[in-house]
Symmetry: C2
Subunit: 155 residues, 2 copies
Amino acid sequence: MRTICNMERYNVEKQLHKRGLRATLPRTLVLGVLAQSGRHYTMEELWRRVQESAPEIELSTLYRVVQALTEAGLAGESRLPNGVRVVEGRADEHGHWVCSRCGEVQHFPPGLWEQVNQLVKLAVEPEALWFGVQLGGAGLCPRCRDRAERCDEPQ
Amino acid sequence: MRTICNMERYNVEKQLHKRGLRATLPRTLVLGVLAQSGRHYTMEELWRRVQESAPEIELSTLYRVVQALTEAGLAGESRLPNGVRVVEGRADEHGHWVCSRCGEVQHFPPGLWEQVNQLVKLAVEPEALWFGVQLGGAGLCPRCRDRAERCDEPQ
DNA sequence: GTCCGTGCAAAGCGTTTGCACTGTC
DNA sequence: GACAGTGCAAACGCTTTGCACGGAC
């Protein structure tokens, strides 16, 4: 199933051109997916998603595309606490954390990243120049917390 | 050069026993290094350090030792923003960040981690159960900032 | 003496790279 | 038409795993 309508495709291509990148199929697809969904993807998730539209696209290409988009400021790469690479649209990070029980990726509430970044900036800036924090963490997501409480299981 | 004096060795072995782990050479050495220095190590740094005392210790053993110590709460693993694994003594993270210019690993000022964790905890807890944040980030370390300012270089 | 932990070697997996070709500009 | 970007395949580096031996308890 095609996931990019013409108008979006147009925008995506414009963004690419603005940064001096050629608008190729892999790039428009990836940027379209990232911009449209607003969520994060592991490389494999992103690959599968891209392949729905264009099965011929290689994983190695995906790595190069993600790198190009990141360097151009059109996407952001980060790492979950366990080291898994995740990609999302825009470079401004908001952070995510992982449920220790079910492994689901969770987003922090909006605004929290900015708060934390401000806090860190104030603490670091007398000495150094601050670009931005990366926020991660671990906990129990609502569902798993409820399950744990209800069953009164330890752990 | 031997890095563990007898008394420290004794403490280290006691800690291991307390957690139900056998006090083997690789474990005592690694825990000794981590506990003594208080800083973080990449796996390779740690390996080199351990090999100064016991060259026969394998890298694969080191991975297993680190895993065991982490699970026992005697060490903490985390990831730099670029995905590199780092290990340090104790599990209570304080976070570190990387200088975007020279790549040096920097520690956040003491207390900051607790502040941030508290902030995040408050924001997340109504919904979920919070274990702890992982804090990372990027900036210019004091030296590189000074250099950049002095030369008035862009970037 | 038992069994956990290690050394050793090989496999695994995510990621990168070289090269010739294709498609964008 | 030039050259950036891709597909393909192979290499690479970090990490994990299987197995038999050795050492901690």
